[in-house]
Symmetry: C2
Subunit: 224 residues, 2 copies
Amino acid sequence: MTETMAELSEATPGSKSEQAYQAVKARIVEGTYTPGYRLVLGTIAKDLGFSVVPVREAIRRLEAEGLVTFERNVGATVAGIDPTEYLYTMQTLSIVEGAATALSAPLIDSQSIARARAVNQEMRECLEHFDPVRFTQLNQDFHNVLFEHCPNPHILDLVHRGWNRLAALRSSTFRFVPGRARDSVEEHENLLHLIETGADADDIEKAARRHRTATLDAYLAQTT
Amino acid sequence: MTETMAELSEATPGSKSEQAYQAVKARIVEGTYTPGYRLVLGTIAKDLGFSVVPVREAIRRLEAEGLVTFERNVGATVAGIDPTEYLYTMQTLSIVEGAATALSAPLIDSQSIARARAVNQEMRECLEHFDPVRFTQLNQDFHNVLFEHCPNPHILDLVHRGWNRLAALRSSTFRFVPGRARDSVEEHENLLHLIETGADADDIEKAARRHRTATLDAYLAQTT
DNA sequence: AGGTACGAAATCGTATACGATCACTATCCA
DNA sequence: TGGATAGTGATCGTATACGATTTCGTACCT
């Protein structure tokens, strides 16, 4: 799944710049490079076996996506975990996910619903075995099934960008909250029910938004 | 106004890469480079007086924002005016503008309301003198006043990106529709009323969304 | 005449090289 | 002893250069 998540701007596939982008991004998302990690152009270039120019381009692209921060004549570091930034990202995600869900809902067939339900079932099992990593992955899969026929690729792209940002944060400070995860699975079921019964687009959007903001609230409750 | 529109990632101010970015972007937005215009790295570099590397970086950044399209070993061109793309952009804008307006509404003081109203009055005058360019600029000013205290910079950034995309399209195919412009001014007044009276966030969001989708509908009606 | 193959020009992609800027340390002076 | 300062190393920013790829025009063949 992870590698099939089509980006809107995939920028000259096969180029070293693209390879560098994918490589560094992967390391960030999977947690090899944790927030604060210093990304030195020369070092990365040597690592990957090519010159600094394409690496530089890759880093700048990641900067545009918010995965790394860049400072002139100083260098790049993996983007930090500022709680404020987390709030911004989650709030934005609630909006774009809400819209993506509402727009997609009328186009989802019963077969997709069944697949989504199967994924959600797997998530339940993850709760038993306590597998947060897989749970997060399945969570994205679940929503991606719903977004399969999303009529607006721009919005979908915004959703994926938000997910990437979160992935960079996840593995460090922001922790998996089991109680919240359990609720999340129930909300998925509720969402599927709304879609199945052809509920009002507005109601679906609100439910999808709450699904995201609830996670944010859980985080806020945990820290205060 | 135009130049004070702070970008989220302003990338090493003073660098040539940044200068190139600003220069090319300005030419696209103001219509010097129209859609389809071929952006040749070497030529632009010579024009601006520096080498191709920073220019290349600038172009890639513009690509990420959707202002130019890029093809490997072929080059960059100013992004086109595909009606589908226009629809995507407008739809996305309606969503992010709606959210930005609703989030900002509770934070807008009466002084800002007055300023927004003044801008809207100027827009009315533009209708008399038929000044589409200034009208469009004032329209952005109007909404920027409302967004002044927007609590989420990410969403604001998405709004600005959408505006830039539209700016690239505007000067060519998509025309100014006087009837629609007149309605737009009335909708602004309605929006201000809702904000002043402390209307429900949901109602404000819906009104702001409609304000954008109405323009889209007017375009669709015009072409069919 | 039409189409295909070849070749040259244009343009991009990347490597290498050097100058500019910043952080850090050690030293000197008060 | 504490702070300022000069020097050094590391890293970035950009220029230049060259190889790779594409495009377009021309000549040739059918």
